[in-house]
Amino acid sequence: MTTNIEQQINETWGQPFVEDAKISIRNMDVFYADKQAIFDVNLDIGKHEVTALIGPSGCGKSTFLRCLNRMNDTIPICRVAGDISLDGENIYDTHKDPVLLRARVGMVFQKPNPFPKSVYENVAYGPRLHGLALNRAELDDIVVTSLKKAGLYNEVKNRLHSVATGLSGGQQQRLCIARTIAISPEVILMDEPASSLDPIATAIIEELIDELRKNYTIAIVTHSMQQAARVSQRTAYFHLGRIIEVGETTQIFTNPQHELTENYITGRFG
């Protein structure tokens, strides 16, 4: 039985490819120095849908996600091989400077990390950086719209100019989302965005993700099966640096093909 699983690990089950792909990943390998963390991964991230990445701890979900906006460039020992293309252009070619790429592919991190500035300054930072607002009124508009989209505006409208680190954890995380959407990225990557939040704050974030899907393409890493089932359209199961199975979320959770996937989602593994 075990040998059977080991043999089947090298290929991805399900449908890794979609017709309307925003990001396509082909034959991706990632190394930390000599240690390989991702093995020959193929996956499409569909436009205007939420792709959930699940799998046991240390299987490479964060590593995978961070390659999509070249955040791994900041780790000197990290090396990426293979093709990753955004709208058909290889991001390692066309975006020699990852700055523009990161403006198009935003990221929300596991731990809320607002700048220790005011709420307003946090959201305004990105637009200012890229010169998206011509004057103060436009900037104000962007800030308010982003905060509204992130479902935070009503809670902070009276304290826009007080320091952001004074917000609650859930508010901080939504502020980080507002900050990310303030520069209107095409893709938003989220690495366990709700892992440090209580169920109510989590529910708010999940609703938000569902709402954002209309305008953005989203890839989300999560440890919560329920969350993946609730917010995503497609789900990929990672195991030891490989994608074992990928497909429609409903299909993955109701009728997994691969034994490892089934073990994981039924809680017998990981």
């Binding site: 000197p76 990161r102 991190f109 950086l129 900050r179 990310t180």
Partner: protein, 400 residues
Amino acid sequence: MNNTEQIKKSLKKRYRQEKRFRLLSLLAVLTGFACLFILLVDMIINEKLNISANFDLEALQNANFRGLIKQSLHQLFPTVRKRSDKRALMRLISVDAEYRLRDKLQAEPQLLGETVPIWLLVDDDVDTYLKSDKQFGRVSQEQIAWITELEQQDRFQQRFNYWFFQTGDSREPELAGILGAVMGSFYTLLVTLLLSFPIGVMAAVYLEEFAPRNRWIDFIEVNINNLAAVPSIVFGLLGLAVFINFFGLPRSAPLVGGIVLALMTLPTIIIASRSAIKAVSPSMREAALGLGASKIQVAFHHVVPLAMPGILTGTIIGLAQALGETAPLLMIGMVAFIVDIPQGATDAATVLPVQIYLWADSPERAFVAKTAAAILVLLLFLVAMNGLAVWLRKKFERRW
């Protein structure tokens, strides 16, 4: 006996120990303060002598203010006749007295032809004699007799010595002032700050944020750390050989002193700034990078401002070191006897610690007091710098 009781017993003992220790430390601090305070009060009070000066038109025409003083003294002690005795009598008063008399008349010309009482500075030997309860001071028997007589007439008074803070060095202790050394230290530190702060912070930012990890950078790092341990006199030699002999910069100038001290301070600033930069949470960098900030923007919008309190602390520590540094400055000639107050970074100057050394080394007993006063001024400088550091920290912390 159970555990709780055992702990209770030892707890009492511990509390007693703590209390004793706290008292002792408080005592130490208070003693230090008391000594400083007594010194300060004593130091800056100088004796003055009251004599009536007759602003005589005739004497003035020859601009003989010295003659005026002589006359007044003669009126006080008409019995003194011998030339040598007269000179000894004259020596009770500071050599500077005649110039102050002149200045007074210049400031108030209406005094011409009047006879008014006026306070004059006494000589340092008389000052020492009076302040040491008549035990020290190089005064002769006759002089002691005169002094006693003058004292009975209430003609001595202790005044706050403003002069000390308004003038440069002098061979006469009662005339010597600290301002020259203060200005020298100021210009030197200014040069040091202007050079070492930007260079140090830039180097730290480069090493932490941009430098590739390779053997060259490791080599540079090791050397920066070594530089911090180089004896300061060696920096002085470097300054002498490179800046004065090779580049021909002026000798004894705060400019050269500042450059040398900047070299000495750099490692401190770099090391402190690097640890402050390292302490900035990586999540801040990720947040900014994730929004599409470039590396330089991340460094200067987020990392450096967040590290600023630490950087400033390091800088102030470095500058405080530089302020107290003597050895390298001796090598570049900032030890000369300089009366004029430096007007810029290229004028010959000396600095506070060197001034302290010079005065401590002088034979006149009255310089002992000057030395102590100079030490106090130096300490005040340090306290002010630390205050500035605290204020800057507060300011930056509030902004973020």
